[in-house]
Point group: C5
Chain length 254, copies 5
C-alpha cells in the first residue's frame, strides 16, 4: 500500500473542494458538458495515441500507484548473501531446495541450478530487466499522454465556450457567467493533468526505477554466487546499493 | 485494423460536434477563410520542412495509424522455435523449403541458407532494422511538424483577425462577433494538433517501436539457430520479449 | 532545386497576403518601425549568439534550403558496385582512372589507391563525416536561434507599444488602433519564426541527415572494396540503405 | 555554510517585501486561503509523485543547499599524493595507520589495504559513486517537481477565483479586488517555484556534481597508488581536475 | 575582440532606445523600482542557484563573449606539421627548444619530451579537455539561469503591480498608467533574457565548442607525432578538421 499517494490525493481533493464549497456559487463548478469534453476528449486522444489494451490497462496501472509498495533491498541482500553461504558449502544444486521469496531472484537461481553459463544467464536476466522497463514505460506514457491532452482539451472547451459567448454578446449581464462556464474546462484540464495524470506517471516511473535497481542488485548477486565470491566481500559490494545509513558495514559512505 | 484509433477519432469528433451543435450559434464555427489559413499554412510549412515525397506520403502514412495491426510476437516465437527444431534435425539447408509468414524472418533465414557468416548476417539485419526505424521516423516527424505548425498558424490567424478588428473598432456591438471569428483559427489549430496530428505521430511511433522489438526478437532467434542452440533454451530466452502473462514457461516474471 | 521549399513559401505567402488584403484595413499591416524592431532585434541577437561569419553565411545557407537536391543513393550504390567489379578484376590501382561523380566517393577511392590501411581510411572518412555534420549544425543553429529570437522581439515590441498606449490612455477611441499596432510585432515575430526560420532549419537538418547517410553508405562500400567483398553480396548489403520499394533485390523488405 | 544561498534568499525576500510594503494595499498580499491552496496543493502533489520518506526528507535536503560547503579538491589531491609517497616507501599495508579525513578516500584505501584487486576496487567505488548520484537525484527531483506543481496550483487557484468572481459579477466595483485576490495564487506559485524550489534544486545538482568529480578524482588517485605510479606524475595528472589557476605545476592550461 | 557581439549589442540597443525615445511618454520606461525587482531578483536567484564565486566570475566571463577571438585551426595545423617534420629529423627531444604559441600544444609536447607513454599522454590531455569543457559549462549555466530567472521576476513584478492596481481600482483614469508600470517589469525581463543573458550563454557555448575541437585536433596531432606518422599524411588527416574551402589539399570535400 503506497500511503503517500492516497494521502496526497485526499489532501489535495479536500483543499480544492474546500476552496470551491466555501466560496461563491459552488454549484457553477459542476458542469456535466464541460466534464464530458475534457474527460471524453482526453480518453479519445489516448485511444488514438495508444492501443486499446494499453488504455484499458491504464486503470489497473493507476491502481499500482496506490498499492505498490517499495522494494526492500536490505531483505534481498540478506537473502542473496544467505544463498551464497549455502552454495559455498554445499554447491549450486542445493539452491534448488532453498525457499526464495523474490520471484526474479528465484528465476535467476533456477538458471544457475540448470547449469547454464554465466554469460547466458547475465544476458537473459539483463534482457528481462530491460524489456520489463520498456513495458512499464508504456504505462507511464499513457498517463503522461493524458497529462498533455487534458489541458489541451481544457483549452479547446474554453475556446468553444468563448466563441459561443462572443458571437451572441448582446446582454452585458450574461458575459460574466458565460465566461465563468467557458473557463471551467480549462480548470478541469489543469486539475486532471497537474494533480492526477502527471504525478501518477511520475510515481510509476519512480517505482519502476526502484524495481530496476533491485533487479540489477539481484543480477550482480547471482553472478557473484556463480563466481564463488566470498559471501562477506559480496555483502560489502551489494551494500553499495543501499544508502549509507542502511548498511551493516559501518565503514565509509555518506 | 487498429480499432482504437478509429474509435478515438469518432468519439472525439462526436463530443466536439455535440458541444458545438447543441450550443449557441453553431453556424459561426464553420468559417472557410479560417480553415484555409490554418490548413493551408500548416501544409505550406510542411513542404518547407520536408521533401515533397514525404508530405505526399504522409496521407498514406496517416492511414497506417488506422490500419496497422500490432505484431504478434507469440506467433513469431513459435515459428522460430519450430525452425530451430527443423534445423537441428535436418540442417540449415532444409529451412529454404519451410513456409515462413514474416517477410523479415524469411529474409534472415535466406541469409542462413546462403551460407553467410553469423557476423555478416547480424550486421546486415541490424542495419536493416536501424534504417527502417530511421525511415519510420520521417513519417512521425511530418506529423509532429504539423502538430507544431497548426497551433502557430492558429495564433497567426487570430492575430491577423485581432489587428483587423481593433483597427476599425468604431461599433462596440461588432467587437464580440469579430473576436469570435478571430478566435476560430486558434481553435482549429488546437484541435488539429492535439486531437489529430500529435496523437497520430505517437501511434506511429508506438507501432514502429513494436516492430523494432519484433525484429530484434527475430535477429536473436536466427542467431540462435545458426549457433545450433537448444530449441527449448531458445524458447525460454525469446520469451523474455513477452510480458510474463503471455509466456508458456510459467516460471518467474512479473 | 528543392521545389517543395519554393512551393511551400509561395503557397503560405499567398494565403497570408490574401487574408490581409481581402480583410479590413490592409494598410495597417505594413508598419516600418515594427518591421525594424523584429528584424533588427533578431539580427542583432544572432550576432551576439554566433560569429560574424556564421550570420553572413546564413543568407547563403538559407538558399541551400531552396536549391539543394536530395541525394540519390541508388546511383551511388550502382557506382560503388561497378567500382567493386573493376577492383576485383584489375586491382585497386586501376580505380584511379575510373570516372567518379560523387566527390566524397572520389576522395575515399583515392585513399585506397594511395595504399593507406583500411583502419586509417575508415577513421579519416568517419571524422570527415562527423565534422561536416558539425559544420552543418552551425547553419541550423543560426536559423533555430532566429526562430527563438523573432517571437521574443515580437513580444518585446508589443510590450513597448502597450506601455506607450496605456500611459497616455485619454482618448478611448484611440485604444483600438494603438493596440492593433502593438500586436503587429507579435504577428511579425510569429510569422518569421514559424513560417520561415524554424522550417528552414528543419529542412537543412533533413538534408544534412540524408547526406550523412549517403556518406555512411560510401564508407561501407569502400571498406567492402578494400576487403575484396563479392560485389553481389555488397550490393545486397548496401541496398539495406534504400527503402524496400527501391531495391533491385526483390527479396524481403517491409 | 553556503553563504551564497543565504544571501540570495535574504536579498530576494527583502526586495519582494519592499515592493509589497512600500506599494498600495500591502495587506491584500497576505491571504491565508490562497497560501493553503498553493502550498497544500504542491505538498499533496509531491506525495503522489514521490514516496513519503522522500517528501519528509526534502526539508532536510533543502537545508543542505544552505549548509553544504563546496569540496576542496586541492586538499584531497595533497592527501592522495602524500599517501602515494608513503605507499611507495613503506608498502600499501602502512596506509591503514595514516589519518585520512575524507571518508570516501578512507574507504577506498581500506579496500587497498584489504588486498582486493584493482578491478574489484574500481568497480565497487564507481558503483558507489553512481548510486550516490542516483540518490542525490531523488532530492533534486522532489524540488523540481514542486517547482512544476507550484505554478500549476497557482493557476488552478486563480481559475477557481475567476470562476467565482465572474459567476456573481453584479457589482462592477467588486471586480478589481476580486481579480486581485484571484491573481494572488498565481503570484505565490511563481515566487515559490522561481525563487525557491527550482534554484534550490539547481544548487543541489551543482553540489552533487562537485562531489561526483571529487570522488572521481579519488578513484583515479587510489588506482594510481595501486599501480605504484610516481607521486610526481600522479600529482600532475590529478591536477587536471583543478582549474589552471589553482595548480601547483605552473605549466600550461587555461 | 569579438566584433559580432559588440555590434549586436549596440545595434539592438539603438533599435530599442529609438523605439522608446521616438514614441509617446519615453520617461515612463525608466522606473527604478522595476529595475530593482528584475535585476535584484535575478541576481538573488543566481546566488541561490550557484556558488558565490561563480556569480562573481560571471561578470568576467560575460566579457569573454566580447573579447574572445575564435581559434585559428589553420595556424595550429601548420605548427603541428612543422613540429612533426622536426621530430622526424631530429627526434622528440629537440621539440623542447621549439617555440610553440598555443599553451595546450606546448603542454602536450612537454609530455612527449618527458618520455611519457602515448596512452598516458592521451588520457591526461583528454581529461584536461573534458574538465575544461565542464568548467566552461558552469559559466554558460549562470547566464542560462539568469535567462530563466529574468522573465520569471518580470512576471512576478507585473503580478505584484496588477494586484496593487486592482485592489484600489476606484479611479478609472488611473488604470492605464498603473497597468503600463506593471507591464514594465515583464518588458525588462524579456529584454534582459532574450537580448543579453541567453545570447551571451550561446556565444560562450560556441566558443567553448570551437576550443574543444581545436584541442581535439592538437591531441590527434601530438599522438601522430609520437607514432612517427608521415607529416604529409598527418596534414591531410588534420585538415579534415577544416571546412573544405580552407584546406591546402584541394582534393575532395564539400
Amino acid at each position: 500500500m503506497d500511503l503517500a499517494t492516497l494521502i496526497g490525493v485526499v489532501l489535495g481533493s479536500v483543499l480544492l473542494m474546500g476552496a470551491i464549497l466555501l466560496g461563491d456559487a459552488p454549484g457553477i463548478f459542476f458542469n456535466p458538458p464541460s466534464v464530458l469534453i475534457v474527460f471524453g476528449g482526453t480518453l479519445a486522444t489516448a485511444m488514438i495515441r495508444f492501443s486499446m489494451a494499453d488504455v484499458i490497462n491504464s486503470a489497473k496501472i493507476a491502481m499500482n500507484a496506490f498499492t505498490m509498495r517499495g522494494n526492500n533491498p536490505q531483505e534481498v541482500i540478506a537473502e542473496i548473501v544467505n544463498l551464497a553461504h549455502v552454495a559455498r558449502k554445499n554447491g549450486l544444486i542445493v539452491l534448488e531446495q532453498q525457499p526464495i521469496t523474490d520471484p526474479f531472484l528465484k528465476k535467476a537461481i533456477m538458471y544457475c541450478v540448470d547449469g547454464h553459463e554465466a554469460d547466458f544467464i547475465e544476458e537473459v536476466l539483463q534482457k528481462e530487466v530491460d524489456l520489463t522497463i520498456t513495458r512499464h514505460q508504456v504505462g507511464q506514457q499513457v498517463f503522461n499522454g493524458m497529462g498533455t491532452s487534458a489541458p489541451a482539451f481544457g483549452m479547446i472547451g474554453t475556446l468553444v465556450g468563448l466563441v459561443q459567448m462572443l458571437s451572441v454578446m448582446d446582454d452585458p449581464a450574461s458575459i460574466g457567467p458565460g465566461m465563468a462556464v467557458a473557463l471551467l474546462t480549462t480548470l478541469y484540464g489543469a486539475v486532471l493533468a497537474n494533480f492526477l495524470f502527471i504525478p501518477i506517471a511520475d510515481k510509476l516511473a519512480l517505482r519502476s526505477q526502484e524495481e530496476e535497481q533491485n533487479r540489477q542488485l539481484i543480477i550482480e548477486g547471482v553472478l557473484g554466487i556463480l563466481k564463488g565470491l566470498n559471501p562477506r566481500v559480496m555483502e560489502e559490494f551489494l551494500e553499495t546499493f543501499l544508502p549509507p545509513k542502511d548498511r551493516k558495514n559501518a565503514m565509509a559512505g555518506r
